[in-house]
Symmetry: C2
Subunit: 493 residues, 2 copies
Amino acid sequence: MMSEYTKHARQRRTGNEVVHIPRYTHDNVQHLRLTLLENQLQLLAQKKKKNKSVLILINGVELAGKGEAVTQLREWVDPRYLKVLSPMAGELADNMPFWQRYATGLPANGEIVVLFGNWYADLLYTCLHSKKKSQEALATYLEHMHAFESYLNDQGVTLVKCWFDSSWSFLQKQLAELDDGQKKLVHLLDLDWSNKKEYDKIQALRKKYLSDYVVIDDEDARKRAFHLGHLVLHAIKTPTVAASPSVKKWQHAAIPYVLQHPDTHKTDKNQYKTALAKKQQQAVGLLRAHIKHAGVVIMFEGMDAAGKGGAIKRLVSAMDPREYEINNISAPSEHELQYPYLWRFWCKMPHENNLHNMGISIFDRSWYGRVLVERVEELIPDGLWQRSYEEINQFEQQLHDCGIKVIKFWLSISADEQLSRFMSRQETPYKKYKLTNDDWRNRGKWDAYLQAAADMFAHTSTDHSPWHVIATNDKRAARLQVLDAIIKHLEDK
Amino acid sequence: MMSEYTKHARQRRTGNEVVHIPRYTHDNVQHLRLTLLENQLQLLAQKKKKNKSVLILINGVELAGKGEAVTQLREWVDPRYLKVLSPMAGELADNMPFWQRYATGLPANGEIVVLFGNWYADLLYTCLHSKKKSQEALATYLEHMHAFESYLNDQGVTLVKCWFDSSWSFLQKQLAELDDGQKKLVHLLDLDWSNKKEYDKIQALRKKYLSDYVVIDDEDARKRAFHLGHLVLHAIKTPTVAASPSVKKWQHAAIPYVLQHPDTHKTDKNQYKTALAKKQQQAVGLLRAHIKHAGVVIMFEGMDAAGKGGAIKRLVSAMDPREYEINNISAPSEHELQYPYLWRFWCKMPHENNLHNMGISIFDRSWYGRVLVERVEELIPDGLWQRSYEEINQFEQQLHDCGIKVIKFWLSISADEQLSRFMSRQETPYKKYKLTNDDWRNRGKWDAYLQAAADMFAHTSTDHSPWHVIATNDKRAARLQVLDAIIKHLEDK
């Protein structure tokens, strides 16, 4: 069930504004060059203080001068902080989000990145060469792409989207001037660029899907670079989005009963052992079947000592460590802080080709830290965590749409039980390290965390990825319920 | 020409020492668990101060309990700092170093990483399934692997290499107990494990190539984990290698004539333009031909303002920015400092499947910073930079052996010419940013840098990757010579 808040999410704008391009003169080129450099160095100087970077998506027809324009741009700015990436375009994958291939290439604060190959190249490639995707599926992709870019924009990544264009006649004139060796290099998007039908098709697709691109179509290479330079300058100068205004009268969600009464009947030890073994086997079988097609994300949140580690341990004990990866999430590192908030999680999604990830990604704490610890500890303004519910929902929707299961648990514990577990940790030599001052501090904010959890359930429980709230005062019952929920989740579809 | 220093390199030991394994008792298990945890936490606490991490390579026969043992290990330690990676084994590639696939997975300081899939799995896979590699080629791979591990060890990465073994009869007994579903999962190294011939073959290969592995072959799963735990504990406790003793009477190399007299005839502007265009085209054609098979690394070192940027600009201006990547190297970030010194360069090597790299990797400054700035500024002890020549030679040899060309330039400038270029930078608005206080400071250490360069040439000029020292007082002549050298380098083979 999607929350009202999310449904009525503000529409935030992305893409290019109309940028005034001055007349091409020697003086104006010199001025552009200097201003670009100055602004780039200023961008860089502020990178620790400010989330701000520039991402330039370049697409276009063959021989329209994309490469030359970027070469010129590189000469105008300090090339150390201008990365150029150009992965080959390919078909949009069925089992991973469109951004997966590009996540590690996104700009850190202060950087400018040019992406020649990008998700739009993949989208065009898919339209041209694959019959598998329906019009609806393509429209959904486009929607996700816009939402993703809107998120980047909100996180300080300003986008520039340029389409380098040539008229049919100019393109043919250029093709005619190529020697045989050069002709072999003309294979953008695997098209035959001397075929008018293919040319028209790509133009139609461009108008349909890339309507918010700025078109650069001057026949003079110097003017194209001049145009691009101004777009980039404008992007560097565009102020980052201020934190959204906070919702002054934030509507607190009601705190679910189980959060305040996490007591359960004691489970008999022998019954538990038998049931555990059976459910483990069942869950692992279903997980193995699913990861043949797409990944699974299993995520645990809850108060300290609520049993996240124990539940994970029982879940994985019937699996092979090669089948899963456990991500224990704590505060982001300085390196990670240079990227959009969700970035470090993008890089941890299940993905068969990724050395660091296998089919099953388990999270001990997660991206929900944004609306839990960061909210309660007031690490971010109210507007920011309030907006995060929507961002998280979009992220999980993208995963869902490519078949990745997201299974979310909140392990609920009573304050008394937590205290007794803290005490036991203090007394057990190999558990002592688990208890830190933070744990005691967090305990002091018990009610604030309960409220944050309740709001989180209200705003991020969706049909495809509901929150499973599990009472854990009886650890055995809790572990069985976790397995039950996983089994049910995977059996459902 | 390999230097004497390199030829007679000290043999440094890697691999496992004999570790005493106590008797398996309940008390000893409890003791192991506690000590492991304590030592892991200590390792972590020192991560900013000390280069120390642990890399566990696990290989073995099917069903020998590798997974179970690692699951147990994960329960004993703090799992947040134990990463488990298991990429599929595959054939050793012809055009990239064996470590390429694994570089990003190596442990940072304080971390413990288990690599189930690793370069030895690839080596075994290649022996079993490919006829393409000769015995000599395989022997060379093995040598490189040992050198690489020796380097890791010297940089504070302590290795544990375990072979999990089963006798033929025990393995068959286990296979017989599997149900059909489980049998499908038994495909390690794509072998038929119920075939005695294949079993014998893998054992023979293990003895031949993995002779320095510790064999864990207990039939009791608990004892296998206990054994592994002790190996890991020993590795955590193993002190990191102290910096090698410095060579007290370091033999300074003679300073080449061109370094002190980098004057060249002025090149006529018109002749230059014609020659430049012709040579650019020739160089780009050869580069394009080469990167079909393997990558090219082109690297520039030299005093400040010697013209590195200008030479790179002329080199790439005839190329498309999608064909190359320019890496401008400055001091390592805090993140990079958590890894072996060469690590950040491993991650920047040309590699077609890498989003960040294309066929041609250009470096503006490079790994030679170790024996230039780090030596001259006394950032590291003498023993460390003295040892680096050998490490760098091994690194470049590994690249060479898989067909990657490494083309190295030192751009030589006179002190007077540098001064006049500094002055001109100060006066040109869009060049001003290039001149920093560091440049003036470095200028004060002119002679020390000259000596460091001379020693570098003497110790790292090899047959396959000689230093090209280019006089750059006349920029035009220098740029043509750079292109000439690249052309010659690529034509030679």
